[in-house]
């Protein structure tokens, strides 16, 4: 990304951004013909750019739940590896579950966040064909969750707070995953979160897909990026099961209340990390900074609680959901 102009051309637009895409294409065309001497063209470019920015702002101010789902899945949305590069330092990757294998769908290790030593764990989806295959599109197998358990227990042993970044369509649905105990691994990982005697902050940064997400998100504080989604089943899955057609995903997304704004209202999450106008993928650096600041604040607040209080707070937090 050499400069702002190149970067905008590289952005892949979502369906609902078509009017903005057309404007941007027109601007790019004008820029290509302009040599800087024609003041009319320059002012036209300026006008169109302002219009485009305005459209982007209004579009993103009122995204529907289904549109947010698309933004949360945007191929250029920053992922775990981007946050690792942008806000964490001195990262030491820790690999393997000591039982079966190393699952690159979940990455974890020791890291420093603005001077705070932490254990960071999260899903990684990959950003191109090769890395998507390597990371299995962020869909973890039992060994991924068992690695997460191992790292959480290590964090607790050495007094390191745990930060998790959640971004998965769900745990991997496959024969081998079932044979090696996908359910048990997820259940134990959730249990490991609840047992931590250190602060734990989870952030849904993209998709929070069902049990595969909650397994590393049963935290003291759960945050969501502004345009991320978190749900019990994908809108497509709910559409095919409840409506018996694949075409009702948008309705399902609305009905299930998958957005950060909805979930804050339901007290399922504790806060929303704002994204730049046009979504995290339009400015990964600013997004990562906002995320680091929010996580840091939460860690500092939780750091004042004892281990026993942290466990109690986490328990009460989840016991309250669904209680009258």
């Amino acid at each position: 990304m050499a400069d702002d102009t190149d970067w905008k051309i590289m952005i892949s637009f979502l369906d609902f951004e078509k009017p903005i895409a057309e404007l941007e294409a027109r601007i790019a065309e004008l820029r290509a013909t302009a040599d800087g001497s024609d003041l009319d063209i320059e002012s036209e470019i300026d006008k169109l750019a302002k219009k485009s920015a305005g459209m982007l702002e209004t579009t993103y101010a009122k995204l529907s739940p289904w549109q947010k789902t698309q933004v949360a899945r945007h191929p250029q949305r920053p992922h775990f590896v981007d946050y690792l590069r942008l806000i964490f330092t001195d990262f030491v990757a820790l690999a393997g579950d000591r039982t079966y294998g190393e699952d690159a769908a979940i990455i974890g290790g020791l890291a420093t966040l603005d001077g705070r030593k932490v254990m960071v764990i999260g899903h990684e989806k990959g950003h191109d064909t090769a890395t998507r295959i390597k990371h299995n599109f962020g869909m973890a197998k039992p060994e991924g969750y068992r690695k997460a358990i191992r790292l959480m227990e290590m964090a607790s042993k050495f007094g390191l707070p745990v930060v998790t970044l959640v971004d998965t369509a769900g745990a991997f649905p496959g024969v081998e995953a079932e044979e090696r105990g996908q359910s048990e691994a997820i259940a134990r990982s959730t249990e490991a979160c609840l047992a931590l005697g250190v602060p734990m902050v989870a952030v849904i940064v993209g998709e929070g897909g069902s049990g595969g997400a909650v397994a590393i998100a049963a935290a003291n504080t759960v945050l969501m990026l502004e345009h991320s989604v978190y749900s019990v089943i994908s809108p497509e899955g709910a559409s095919s099961i409840l409506w018996r057609t694949p075409d009702k995903a948008a309705d399902a997304a609305t009905a299930m209340k998958v957005t950060a704004q909805d979930l804050l209202g339901l007290k399922v999450i504790d806060g929303i990390v704002p994204e730049p106008i046009g979504g995290a993928h339009r400015d990964p650096t600013a997004t990562a900074r906002a995320l680091a600041d929010a996580v840091g604040r939460e860690l500092d607040a939780l750091g004042r609680l004892s281990g026993a209080d942290l466990i109690r707070q986490r328990e009460e937090r989840f016991l309250a959901i669904g209680s009258l």
Partner: protein, 282 residues
Amino acid sequence: MSWLDKVRNSISSLAKRDTPDELWMKCASCGEMLFIKEFEANLSVCPKCEHHGRIGAKARFDLLLDTGYTVLPTPKVPENPLNFRDTKKYPDRLKAARATNPYPDALTNAYGAVNGAKAVLGVQDFKFMGGSMGMAVGEAFVAGVEKAIAENCAYVIVTAAGGARMQEGILSLMQMPKTTVATRRLAAAGLPYIVVLTDPTTGGVTASYAMLGDVQIAEPGALIGFAGQRVIQDTIREKLPDGFQRAEYLHAHGMVDMVVHRKDLKDTLATLLGYLARKEVA
């Protein structure tokens, strides 16, 4: 309505007689025609192929608990906080399920004894919206565990569920950590947690309390898994192995301790409780 039914219904003394449809059923597995009363007397297990049919909470309590057990009240939870509707409104689905089921939601607890060993027994009923785990199931699970802690006894859960209740969205997903808080508290009290997996147990239920037992028992042939078979098949595009996600398959892969025939279930539980129950302090 056939002419015979018309005649029969017009004669009041004959009107309530069982029709052949209500006397016989086909085994869901081998297709054998079974006399319903005989099938039920055989614990809803097919005498020909040993297929374990699905049974409800009341039948489970009678099967596993000594006479004189107490059914515990189902805790009240917020109803329809998402104001959910798919092709039907969620409250209408609840109403329909309640009209045809004896208990107000999919998980019901009873306090009693298993061959004299006291226990709280929770049973999930697949007939109630597929046994699905919503807030009422989560809250009932927690209440069952709390009762076990108060009575200083084991909690035994008989699971049956397609998974989380989608009509409650994220709130159903949150029952996974919620129920896990309860199993942790039971463990901290040193009390046994025994899971009996019955057909079917899948999705978020399997991925939380159904897999956290000190001892994991499965009924023969029960479908037990995380992901649905169609989803897996669509992902891998291969034929699934024989017996995949069945109780025996899970046993072979180390996921359950034992596969136990329904007729032996009560004695098995009693033996386990005898070993694991909290020793009385002298």
